[in-house]
């Protein structure tokens, strides 16, 4: 229900809402009809225009592209999370130079468009004497960029943990490093799972940038399919729907996990210090590279 209205409407409010419902349904329906008529007037709704999408060859080709997309995303996440952890620890380090270096990395790579980075990995690096394949250029760009994002996420996660946790660990006689690895990090990671998952959706979307370095992921294959049949509209709709299906599944999972976490930790998966930090990260990161 509406967040703003709070309690139930009276008779007049209900009547108004009912009228508004009818009117807005009519308007939305009208827009849909206009769109469909436009499509059919230009012949884009003809079955012949869509039938190529169910050819086994085309389906296999596109699903292969999806496979490449998923592979690049999965491979990029591993170093991104690893370096992200190192960065988060670095930013919370007691040594000023370490803090400075980690901060510089995070700030620099978060300010740089992912597109610029991936283009550099492919066209720039080859000028410097080493060639990266399109696949590795994409994975390297995604990893370097997302490491900065994960660094930010993990830092917020570590800060969100009750100080008592590390204090208790220290008073048990653990060293700072032990307290971090045995007590703080495991809890921080667990709290961060929903955020990690939603960042993975962003990362998955960003693999489409592989197109710009000729990596054969889903979008590039969609371009091929569309160009081959001269039906780019249908091909891109198919590509969009595939992305939608995969990402919605992941987003749903993230949301369900978040609700479960919230129940488990009562006040919310994230509270105390770092809450605003995290909110800012979530808003920025969810749009992230793309």
């Amino acid at each position: 229900m509406s967040v703003v209205l709070g309690d139930a409407l009276g008779p007049r409010g209900r009547r108004r809402t009912a009228i508004a419902s009818v009117v807005s349904s009519a308007v939305l329906l009208g827009l849909l009809i206009i769109a469909l008529r436009r499509l059919s007037a230009t012949g884009q709704l003809d079955a012949a225009k869509w039938s190529f999408l169910v050819k086994p060859l085309v389906i296999r080709f596109l699903l292969g592209g999806l496979g490449n997309t998923l592979r690049a995303a999965a491979v990029a996440i591993v170093p991104a999370v690893t370096i992200g952890t190192v960065l988060a620890l670095g930013r919370l380090s007691r040594k000023a130079p370490v803090r400075l270096a980690a901060n510089a990395y995070v700030q620099f790579f978060r300010a740089l468009p992912l597109f610029i980075l991936i283009i550099f990995m492919f066209y720039g690096v080859s000028k410097l004497g080493t060639d990266l394949s399109p696949y590795w250029a994409l994975v390297a760009g995604l990893s370097i960029y997302n490491a900065a994002v994960f660094g930010e996420i993990f830092r917020a996660g570590i800060l969100s943990l009750d100080r008592g946790q590390s204090e208790a660990a220290l008073s048990l006689g653990m060293r700072r490093r032990q307290a971090m690895w045995l007590v703080v990090l495991p809890q921080a990671y667990r709290r961060m799972i929903p955020t990690i998952l939603s960042q993975s959706v962003t990362l998955l979307k960003d693999t489409s940038l592989g197109f710009t370095v000729t990596y054969e992921e889903l979008l590039r294959r969609g371009v091929f399919v569309g160009a081959a049949g001269k039906d780019p509209l249908q091909a891109f709709v198919a590509v969009a729907l595939i992305y939608l299906a995969v990402n919605m599944t992941l987003s749903r999972a993230a949301r369900r996990l978040e609700i479960r976490q919230r129940r488990r930790y009562r006040a919310g998966s994230i509270d105390i210090a770092g809450a605003e930090d995290l909110q800012a990260v979530a808003a920025g990161a969810s749009m992230g590279g793309t």
Binding site: S2, A20, G284
Partner: protein
């Protein structure tokens, strides 16, 4: 570095286009975000459903796919715009869905009593939204919207794929044409950093001015 000085003109032109693209898209995104957020908190079920469908669809499709769909796909059904307006439309629609979600989360921070009081003095829903709830909600989300602005600055680089000659496109051309990729990278970075930092600073100032301390 000489390669930078040599191509300063190209970088400058690209930077101006990126700036125009960012500002135009951001204005559109704010408008779309306000409308969609209002739809999503309204008591009218069809509007809520439409708002949710919009946000869920747009957010789960990569921006690059949306750009291609609009620029290469839509002309087939007679909707055709030059590269720059196309980029503005798609960027605004994409960023707008994120702005809508952010504003909606801001609406959640407004105390319930505010909306109840607005209703108690006889304001209709659109009135209470416009006069009471949104002004407070917007103050709460200045910082997250600033983050979206910075993300938009970075996303405009993708417009180079549909032949908009902005900073990212100048960068891509120079990095393939010249032999000093690091200098070119530096040039592009300075451009984007300048935009992002200025944007971040402006939003911090706005937040400082309008934030309600609770």
């Amino acid at each position: 570095m000489s390669v930078l000085i040599h191509n300063l003109g190209a970088f400058g032109a690209g930077f101006r286009t990126t700036l125009a693209l960012t500002l135009a898209s951001f204005a559109g995104a704010l408008a779309i975000g306000l409308v969609v957020a209002s739809m999503r908190v309204s008591p009218v079920a069809p509007l809520r459903a439409a708002g949710t469908a919009y946000v869920e669809t747009i957010r789960n499709i990569p921006l690059l796919v949306l750009l291609f769909l609009f620029f290469f796909g839509f002309p087939k059904m007679g909707i055709q715009y030059p590269p720059f307006p196309s980029a503005v439309i798609v960027m605004a629609a994409y960023t707008g869905s994120f702005v809508a979600e952010t504003i909606r989360s801001g609406v959640n921070t407004v105390a319930r009593g505010q909306a109840e009081a607005a209703r108690a003095i006889g304001l209709t829903f659109p009135q209470s939204l416009r006069l009471v709830v949104l002004p407070q909600a917007l103050r709460a989300v200045v910082a997250p919207i600033g983050n979206l602005f910075i993300a938009l600055v970075k996303n405009t680089a993708l417009a180079s794929t549909i032949a908009v000659v902005e900073l990212g496109s100048v960068y891509t051309r120079l990095i393939t044409e010249t032999a000093q990729p690091v200098a070119i990278l530096f040039g592009a970075t300075v451009g984007y950093l300048a935009l992002a930092l200025t944007g971040g600073w402006i939003f911090a100032e706005i937040e400082h001015k309008v934030a309600i301390k609770r």
